[in-house]
Protein backbone atom coordinates (compact mmCIF):
# COMPACT_ATOMS: atom_id res chain seq x y z
CA UNK A 1 0.00 0.00 0.00
CA UNK A 2 1.41 3.38 -0.96
CA UNK A 3 1.64 6.50 1.16
CA UNK A 4 -1.08 8.98 0.22
CA UNK A 5 0.08 12.59 0.27
CA UNK A 6 -2.77 15.09 0.31
CA UNK A 7 -1.90 18.43 -1.26
CA UNK A 8 -0.97 20.07 -4.54
CA UNK A 9 2.40 19.02 -5.97
CA UNK A 10 3.22 22.69 -6.59
CA UNK A 11 2.88 23.81 -2.96
CA UNK A 12 5.98 24.16 -0.80
CA UNK A 13 4.96 22.09 2.22
CA UNK A 14 3.77 19.04 0.26
CA UNK A 15 7.00 19.32 -1.79
CA UNK A 16 9.00 19.02 1.44
CA UNK A 17 7.32 15.69 2.15
CA UNK A 18 7.46 14.41 -1.44
CA UNK A 19 11.20 15.13 -1.66
CA UNK A 20 11.82 13.11 1.48
CA UNK A 21 9.78 10.18 0.15
CA UNK A 22 11.67 10.32 -3.15
CA UNK A 23 15.03 10.43 -1.32
CA UNK A 24 13.99 7.32 0.59
CA UNK A 25 12.45 5.61 -2.47
CA UNK A 26 9.07 5.27 -0.76
CA UNK A 27 6.12 4.76 -3.09
CA UNK A 28 3.45 7.41 -2.83
CA UNK A 29 0.29 8.69 -4.44
CA UNK A 30 -0.45 12.40 -4.60
CA UNK A 31 -4.07 13.19 -3.81
CA UNK A 32 -4.54 16.64 -5.28
CA UNK A 33 -6.17 19.25 -3.07
CA UNK A 34 -7.53 22.31 -4.88
CA UNK A 35 -6.50 25.25 -2.74
CA UNK A 36 -8.22 27.78 -5.02
CA UNK A 37 -11.51 25.94 -4.44
CA UNK A 38 -10.73 25.92 -0.69
CA UNK A 39 -10.87 22.13 -0.56
CA UNK A 40 -8.47 22.29 2.40
CA UNK A 41 -11.06 24.14 4.49
CA UNK A 42 -13.87 21.66 3.85
CA UNK A 43 -15.11 19.28 6.57
CA UNK A 44 -13.67 16.07 5.13
CA UNK A 45 -10.21 17.57 4.80
CA UNK A 46 -10.40 19.14 8.26
CA UNK A 47 -10.79 15.59 9.61
CA UNK A 48 -7.29 14.92 8.25
CA UNK A 49 -5.74 18.27 9.16
CA UNK A 50 -7.78 20.26 11.68
CA UNK A 51 -5.92 23.50 10.88
CA UNK A 52 -6.95 23.28 7.22
CA UNK A 53 -3.46 23.18 5.74
CA UNK A 54 -1.59 20.93 3.33
CA UNK A 55 -0.02 18.41 3.45
CA UNK A 56 -1.46 15.49 5.35
CA UNK A 57 -0.46 11.86 4.83
CA UNK A 58 -2.21 8.52 5.16
CA UNK A 59 -0.05 5.41 5.42
CA UNK A 60 -2.28 2.37 5.85
CA UNK A 61 -4.09 3.21 9.11
CA UNK A 62 -1.58 5.87 10.21
CA UNK A 63 -2.36 9.52 9.61
CA UNK A 64 -0.08 12.50 10.19
CA UNK A 65 0.15 16.21 9.39
CA UNK A 66 2.77 19.03 9.67
CA UNK A 67 5.38 18.57 6.92
CA UNK A 68 8.41 18.73 9.23
CA UNK A 69 6.93 16.07 11.51
CA UNK A 70 6.17 13.90 8.47
CA UNK A 71 9.73 14.11 7.11
CA UNK A 72 11.17 13.31 10.56
CA UNK A 73 8.90 10.25 10.74
CA UNK A 74 9.90 8.88 7.35
CA UNK A 75 13.58 9.71 7.81
CA UNK A 76 13.45 7.62 11.01
CA UNK A 77 11.21 4.85 9.63
CA UNK A 78 13.54 4.29 6.66
CA UNK A 79 16.74 5.24 8.42
CA UNK A 80 18.69 2.37 6.87
CA UNK A 81 17.41 2.99 3.34
CA UNK A 82 19.02 5.51 1.04
CA UNK A 83 20.81 8.57 2.44
CA UNK A 84 20.91 9.07 6.21
CA UNK A 85 18.86 12.24 6.56
CA UNK A 86 18.94 12.38 10.36
CA UNK A 87 22.56 12.08 11.48
CA UNK A 88 24.14 9.20 13.39
CA UNK A 89 24.95 10.13 16.97
CA UNK A 90 22.65 11.93 19.42
CA UNK A 91 24.77 15.06 18.92
CA UNK A 92 24.59 14.90 15.10
CA UNK A 93 20.82 14.47 15.28
CA UNK A 94 20.55 17.47 17.55
CA UNK A 95 22.46 19.64 15.07
CA UNK A 96 20.18 18.46 12.21
CA UNK A 97 17.20 19.35 14.41
CA UNK A 98 18.73 22.74 15.17
CA UNK A 99 19.02 23.71 11.51
CA UNK A 100 15.55 22.34 10.77
CA UNK A 101 14.30 24.69 13.51
CA UNK A 102 16.27 27.53 11.90
CA UNK A 103 14.48 26.85 8.61
CA UNK A 104 11.12 26.80 10.39
CA UNK A 105 11.63 29.93 12.52
CA UNK A 106 14.25 32.18 10.97
CA UNK A 107 13.81 31.42 7.27
CA UNK A 108 10.36 30.13 6.35
CA UNK A 109 8.17 33.03 7.46
CA UNK A 110 10.33 35.56 5.63
CA UNK A 111 10.25 33.52 2.40
CA UNK A 112 6.53 32.86 2.77
CA UNK A 113 5.69 36.55 3.18
CA UNK A 114 8.03 37.63 0.40
CA UNK A 115 6.56 35.10 -2.05
CA UNK A 116 3.01 35.98 -0.95
CA UNK A 117 3.52 39.68 -1.65
CA UNK A 118 5.57 39.37 -4.84
CA UNK A 119 4.06 36.28 -6.48
CA UNK A 120 0.86 34.85 -5.01
CA UNK A 121 -1.20 38.01 -4.47
CA UNK A 122 -0.40 39.43 -7.94
CA UNK A 123 -1.31 36.02 -9.47
CA UNK A 124 -4.69 36.40 -7.77
CA UNK A 125 -5.07 39.86 -9.27
CA UNK A 126 -4.40 41.56 -5.93
CA UNK A 127 -1.88 44.18 -4.88
CA UNK A 128 1.14 42.93 -2.93
CA UNK A 129 2.60 45.00 -0.07
CA UNK A 130 5.95 46.13 -1.47
CA UNK A 131 7.11 47.64 1.84
CA UNK A 132 6.54 44.31 3.58
CA UNK A 133 8.31 42.51 0.74
CA UNK A 134 11.32 44.82 1.08
CA UNK A 135 11.44 44.34 4.84
CA UNK A 136 11.38 40.54 4.40
CA UNK A 137 14.10 40.73 1.78
CA UNK A 138 16.35 42.78 4.08
CA UNK A 139 15.86 40.33 6.94
CA UNK A 140 16.41 37.38 4.60
CA UNK A 141 19.68 38.98 3.49
CA UNK A 142 20.89 38.81 7.10
CA UNK A 143 19.75 35.19 7.45
CA UNK A 144 21.60 34.23 4.27
CA UNK A 145 24.72 35.95 5.67
CA UNK A 146 24.57 33.51 8.58
CA UNK A 147 24.10 30.61 6.16
CA UNK A 148 27.10 31.83 4.12
CA UNK A 149 29.26 31.83 7.23
CA UNK A 150 28.03 28.38 8.25
CA UNK A 151 28.50 26.88 4.79
CA UNK A 152 32.03 28.27 4.53
CA UNK A 153 33.02 25.69 7.15
CA UNK A 154 30.62 22.88 6.38
CA UNK A 155 29.41 21.38 3.07
CA UNK A 156 25.85 21.15 4.34
CA UNK A 157 23.99 22.97 7.09
CA UNK A 158 24.30 20.29 9.76
CA UNK A 159 27.71 18.92 8.74
CA UNK A 160 29.31 16.96 5.91
CA UNK A 161 26.21 15.19 4.64
CA UNK A 162 22.86 16.13 3.14
CA UNK A 163 20.17 15.93 5.83
CA UNK A 164 16.59 16.97 6.52
CA UNK A 165 17.92 20.42 7.41
CA UNK A 166 19.04 21.03 3.81
CA UNK A 167 16.05 19.20 2.30
CA UNK A 168 13.60 21.39 4.17
CA UNK A 169 14.94 24.49 2.39
CA UNK A 170 14.50 23.20 -1.17
CA UNK A 171 10.89 24.28 -1.87
CA UNK A 172 11.28 27.76 -0.39
CA UNK A 173 14.54 28.55 -2.17
CA UNK A 174 13.05 27.32 -5.47
CA UNK A 175 10.21 29.83 -5.03
CA UNK A 176 12.70 32.62 -4.25
CA UNK A 177 14.94 31.87 -7.21
CA UNK A 178 12.42 30.86 -9.90
CA UNK A 179 9.27 32.80 -9.07
CA UNK A 180 10.10 35.79 -6.89
CA UNK A 181 13.12 37.15 -8.75
CA UNK A 182 15.26 36.83 -5.62
CA UNK A 183 17.92 34.53 -7.08
CA UNK A 184 20.64 37.09 -6.30
CA UNK A 185 20.21 36.36 -2.57
CA UNK A 186 21.66 32.94 -3.38
CA UNK A 187 23.92 33.59 -6.39
CA UNK A 188 25.78 36.50 -4.76
CA UNK A 189 26.94 34.26 -1.91
CA UNK A 190 29.69 31.84 -2.94
CA UNK A 191 29.00 29.07 -0.41
CA UNK A 192 25.21 29.41 -0.35
CA UNK A 193 25.26 29.28 -4.16
CA UNK A 194 27.44 26.15 -4.24
CA UNK A 195 25.19 24.50 -1.62
CA UNK A 196 22.03 25.37 -3.56
CA UNK A 197 23.57 24.04 -6.81
CA UNK A 198 24.44 20.77 -5.05
CA UNK A 199 21.16 20.17 -3.26
CA UNK A 200 18.94 21.22 -6.14
CA UNK A 201 20.77 18.80 -8.46
CA UNK A 202 19.95 15.77 -6.35
CA UNK A 203 18.01 13.17 -8.38
CA UNK A 204 15.10 13.14 -5.91
CA UNK A 205 14.56 16.90 -6.24
CA UNK A 206 14.87 16.72 -10.02
CA UNK A 207 12.25 13.96 -10.10
CA UNK A 208 9.91 16.13 -8.06
CA UNK A 209 10.45 19.09 -10.38
CA UNK A 210 9.37 16.88 -13.29
CA UNK A 211 6.30 15.68 -11.37
CA UNK A 212 5.40 19.28 -10.59
CA UNK A 213 5.67 20.16 -14.29
CA UNK A 214 8.52 22.68 -13.98
Amino acid sequence: MVVKVYGPVTAACPQRVLTCLLEKDVDFEIVHINLDACDHKKPDFLLRQPFGQVPAIEDADFKLFESRAIIRYYAAKYEKRGPNLLGNSLEERAVVDQWLEVEAHNFNELVYNLVLQLVILPRMGKQGDSALALSCQQKLDKVFDVYEQRLSGSAYLAGDSFTLADLSHLPGIRYLVEDAGMGHLVSQRKHVNAWWETISNRPAWKKLMKLAGY
Binding site: P50, F51, F62, L64, F65, E66, R68, A69, I70, R72, Y73, A76, K77, L90, E91, R93, A94, V95, D97, Q98, L100, E101, V102, A104, H105, N106, E109, V143, V146, Q149, R150
Partner: protein
Protein backbone atom coordinates in the same frame (compact mmCIF):
# COMPACT_ATOMS: atom_id res chain seq x y z
CA UNK B 1 31.17 18.71 32.99
CA UNK B 2 27.85 20.37 33.80
CA UNK B 3 25.74 21.57 30.90
CA UNK B 4 25.54 25.34 30.56
CA UNK B 5 22.34 26.96 29.38
CA UNK B 6 22.75 30.56 28.23
CA UNK B 7 19.57 32.60 28.60
CA UNK B 8 17.16 34.06 31.12
CA UNK B 9 14.74 32.39 33.52
CA UNK B 10 11.99 34.82 32.56
CA UNK B 11 12.30 34.14 28.82
CA UNK B 12 9.66 31.90 27.24
CA UNK B 13 12.22 30.15 25.04
CA UNK B 14 14.83 29.62 27.77
CA UNK B 15 12.22 28.42 30.26
CA UNK B 16 10.98 25.86 27.75
CA UNK B 17 14.41 24.22 28.01
CA UNK B 18 14.66 24.68 31.80
CA UNK B 19 11.31 22.92 32.27
CA UNK B 20 12.54 20.00 30.18
CA UNK B 21 15.78 19.83 32.19
CA UNK B 22 13.83 19.78 35.47
CA UNK B 23 11.48 17.04 34.19
CA UNK B 24 14.55 14.84 33.74
CA UNK B 25 16.32 15.92 36.93
CA UNK B 26 19.25 16.94 34.73
CA UNK B 27 21.94 19.15 36.25
CA UNK B 28 22.78 22.36 34.52
CA UNK B 29 24.04 25.87 35.14
CA UNK B 30 21.97 28.83 33.91
CA UNK B 31 24.32 31.50 32.58
CA UNK B 32 22.43 34.80 32.30
CA UNK B 33 22.71 36.77 29.06
CA UNK B 34 22.30 40.53 29.40
CA UNK B 35 19.87 41.39 26.61
CA UNK B 36 19.58 45.02 27.64
CA UNK B 37 23.31 45.48 27.12
CA UNK B 38 23.10 43.69 23.78
CA UNK B 39 25.19 40.77 25.00
CA UNK B 40 23.30 38.44 22.65
CA UNK B 41 24.58 40.39 19.65
CA UNK B 42 28.23 40.33 20.74
CA UNK B 43 30.79 38.02 19.10
CA UNK B 44 31.12 35.71 22.12
CA UNK B 45 27.41 34.90 22.07
CA UNK B 46 27.11 34.92 18.27
CA UNK B 47 29.73 32.17 18.29
CA UNK B 48 27.12 30.07 20.12
CA UNK B 49 24.05 31.25 18.20
CA UNK B 50 24.81 33.14 14.99
CA UNK B 51 21.22 34.45 14.97
CA UNK B 52 21.86 36.23 18.28
CA UNK B 53 18.92 34.70 20.16
CA UNK B 54 18.61 33.02 23.54
CA UNK B 55 18.86 30.24 24.59
CA UNK B 56 22.00 28.35 23.63
CA UNK B 57 23.41 25.21 25.27
CA UNK B 58 26.98 24.03 25.81
CA UNK B 59 27.29 20.31 26.61
CA UNK B 60 30.94 19.28 26.43
CA UNK B 61 31.94 19.72 22.79
CA UNK B 62 28.41 20.28 21.60
CA UNK B 63 26.90 23.75 21.27
CA UNK B 64 23.25 23.95 20.31
CA UNK B 65 20.73 26.71 19.73
CA UNK B 66 16.96 26.80 18.95
CA UNK B 67 14.99 25.99 22.11
CA UNK B 68 12.97 23.13 20.60
CA UNK B 69 16.12 21.43 19.24
CA UNK B 70 17.73 21.81 22.68
CA UNK B 71 14.72 20.42 24.57
CA UNK B 72 14.49 17.49 22.12
CA UNK B 73 18.21 16.78 22.67
CA UNK B 74 17.73 16.87 26.47
CA UNK B 75 14.69 14.59 26.26
CA UNK B 76 16.64 12.10 24.10
CA UNK B 77 19.79 12.23 26.20
CA UNK B 78 18.02 11.74 29.52
CA UNK B 79 15.19 9.46 28.42
CA UNK B 80 16.43 6.68 30.67
CA UNK B 81 15.75 8.76 33.77
CA UNK B 82 12.14 7.61 34.10
CA UNK B 83 10.78 10.36 31.91
CA UNK B 84 9.64 9.64 28.35
CA UNK B 85 8.55 12.89 26.75
CA UNK B 86 9.36 11.81 23.18
CA UNK B 87 7.94 8.24 23.14
CA UNK B 88 10.92 7.25 21.03
CA UNK B 89 10.33 3.49 21.45
CA UNK B 90 7.06 3.78 19.54
CA UNK B 91 7.57 5.39 16.12
CA UNK B 92 3.92 6.31 15.60
CA UNK B 93 3.55 7.87 19.04
CA UNK B 94 6.86 9.66 18.51
CA UNK B 95 5.57 11.01 15.18
CA UNK B 96 2.40 12.36 16.84
CA UNK B 97 4.52 14.10 19.48
CA UNK B 98 6.54 15.72 16.66
CA UNK B 99 3.35 16.70 14.79
CA UNK B 100 1.92 18.50 17.86
CA UNK B 101 5.34 20.07 18.54
CA UNK B 102 5.10 21.51 15.03
CA UNK B 103 1.55 22.72 15.76
CA UNK B 104 2.83 24.58 18.84
CA UNK B 105 5.67 26.01 16.80
CA UNK B 106 3.75 26.93 13.61
CA UNK B 107 0.16 27.63 14.73
CA UNK B 108 0.07 28.36 18.46
CA UNK B 109 3.21 30.34 19.25
CA UNK B 110 2.99 32.91 16.44
CA UNK B 111 -0.49 33.92 17.64
CA UNK B 112 0.15 33.88 21.40
CA UNK B 113 3.57 35.52 21.15
CA UNK B 114 2.02 38.60 19.47
CA UNK B 115 -0.40 39.05 22.37
CA UNK B 116 2.44 38.50 24.85
CA UNK B 117 4.70 40.96 23.06
CA UNK B 118 2.09 43.71 22.80
CA UNK B 119 0.53 43.33 26.23
CA UNK B 120 3.56 42.49 28.37
CA UNK B 121 6.82 43.34 26.58
CA UNK B 122 5.95 46.66 24.93
CA UNK B 123 4.86 48.36 28.19
CA UNK B 124 7.35 46.73 30.57
CA UNK B 125 10.49 46.81 28.42
CA UNK B 126 9.86 49.75 26.11
CA UNK B 127 7.42 51.87 28.10
CA UNK B 128 5.09 51.88 25.11
CA UNK B 129 1.40 51.19 24.60
CA UNK B 130 0.06 47.88 23.34
CA UNK B 131 -1.25 47.85 19.76
CA UNK B 132 -4.82 46.74 20.35
CA UNK B 133 -5.43 45.92 16.69
CA UNK B 134 -2.57 43.40 16.70
CA UNK B 135 -3.82 41.95 19.99
CA UNK B 136 -7.36 41.59 18.64
CA UNK B 137 -6.15 39.95 15.43
CA UNK B 138 -3.87 37.58 17.31
CA UNK B 139 -6.57 36.71 19.86
CA UNK B 140 -8.89 35.75 17.03
CA UNK B 141 -6.18 33.52 15.50
CA UNK B 142 -5.32 31.98 18.87
CA UNK B 143 -9.02 31.36 19.54
CA UNK B 144 -9.28 29.31 16.32
CA UNK B 145 -6.19 27.28 17.24
CA UNK B 146 -7.58 26.64 20.73
CA UNK B 147 -10.88 25.51 19.22
CA UNK B 148 -8.90 22.77 17.47
CA UNK B 149 -7.20 21.92 20.78
CA UNK B 150 -10.58 21.77 22.56
CA UNK B 151 -11.79 19.21 20.04
CA UNK B 152 -8.53 17.26 20.13
CA UNK B 153 -8.53 17.09 23.92
CA UNK B 154 -12.03 15.58 23.91
CA UNK B 155 -10.51 12.35 22.60
CA UNK B 156 -6.99 12.55 24.01
CA UNK B 157 -5.80 13.42 27.51
CA UNK B 158 -2.79 15.28 26.20
CA UNK B 159 -2.14 16.71 22.76
CA UNK B 160 -0.30 13.79 21.19
CA UNK B 161 -2.00 10.99 23.14
CA UNK B 162 -2.82 9.85 26.63
CA UNK B 163 0.70 10.57 27.87
CA UNK B 164 2.29 13.88 28.90
CA UNK B 165 4.84 14.72 26.27
CA UNK B 166 7.20 17.39 24.97
CA UNK B 167 4.50 19.00 22.79
CA UNK B 168 2.43 19.82 25.92
CA UNK B 169 5.54 21.07 27.74
CA UNK B 170 6.40 23.54 24.97
CA UNK B 171 3.11 25.40 25.59
CA UNK B 172 3.64 26.06 29.29
CA UNK B 173 5.53 29.36 29.52
CA UNK B 174 3.48 31.29 26.98
CA UNK B 175 0.19 30.15 28.51
CA UNK B 176 1.48 31.05 31.98
CA UNK B 177 2.13 34.60 30.78
CA UNK B 178 -1.23 34.73 28.93
CA UNK B 179 -3.02 33.85 32.14
CA UNK B 180 -1.61 37.02 33.72
CA UNK B 181 -3.50 39.06 31.11
CA UNK B 182 -7.24 39.44 30.41
CA UNK B 183 -6.65 37.12 27.40
CA UNK B 184 -6.36 34.20 29.78
CA UNK B 185 -10.09 33.96 29.12
CA UNK B 186 -9.20 32.28 25.81
CA UNK B 187 -8.00 29.33 27.91
CA UNK B 188 -10.66 29.55 30.64
CA UNK B 189 -13.57 29.66 28.18
CA UNK B 190 -12.64 26.22 26.81
CA UNK B 191 -13.24 23.56 29.50
CA UNK B 192 -10.97 20.84 28.11
CA UNK B 193 -8.16 23.26 27.28
CA UNK B 194 -8.52 24.71 30.78
CA UNK B 195 -8.41 21.26 32.40
CA UNK B 196 -5.34 20.35 30.32
CA UNK B 197 -3.65 23.62 31.31
CA UNK B 198 -4.38 23.02 35.01
CA UNK B 199 -2.95 19.53 34.72
CA UNK B 200 0.28 20.37 32.91
CA UNK B 201 0.97 23.54 34.89
CA UNK B 202 0.68 21.71 38.21
CA UNK B 203 3.66 19.48 37.42
CA UNK B 204 6.51 20.09 39.92
CA UNK B 205 9.06 20.72 37.14
CA UNK B 206 6.99 23.60 35.80
CA UNK B 207 6.18 25.03 39.21
CA UNK B 208 9.92 25.54 39.74
CA UNK B 209 10.13 27.39 36.43
CA UNK B 210 6.95 29.47 36.89
CA UNK B 211 8.50 31.28 39.83
CA UNK B 212 11.04 32.78 37.40
CA UNK B 213 8.49 33.94 34.79
CA UNK B 214 8.38 37.49 36.08
CA UNK B 215 8.17 39.60 32.93
CA UNK B 216 5.61 42.37 33.30
CA UNK B 217 5.29 41.90 37.07
CA UNK B 218 5.06 45.18 38.91
CA UNK B 219 7.59 45.19 41.75
Amino acid sequence: MTMKLYGLAMSTCTSKVITCLHEHGAEFELVPVNLQNGEHKQPAFLAKNPFGQIPALDDGDLTLFESRAISTYVAEKFKGSGCDLLRSQNPKEAALVKAWMEVESQQFSPAISSIFYQFIIVPSMYGGSPNQMIIDESSAKLGKVLDVYEKRLSSSKYLAGDFYNLADLHHLSYIYYLMKTPYGKLINERPRVRAWWEDISSRPAFKKVAAGLTLGDKN
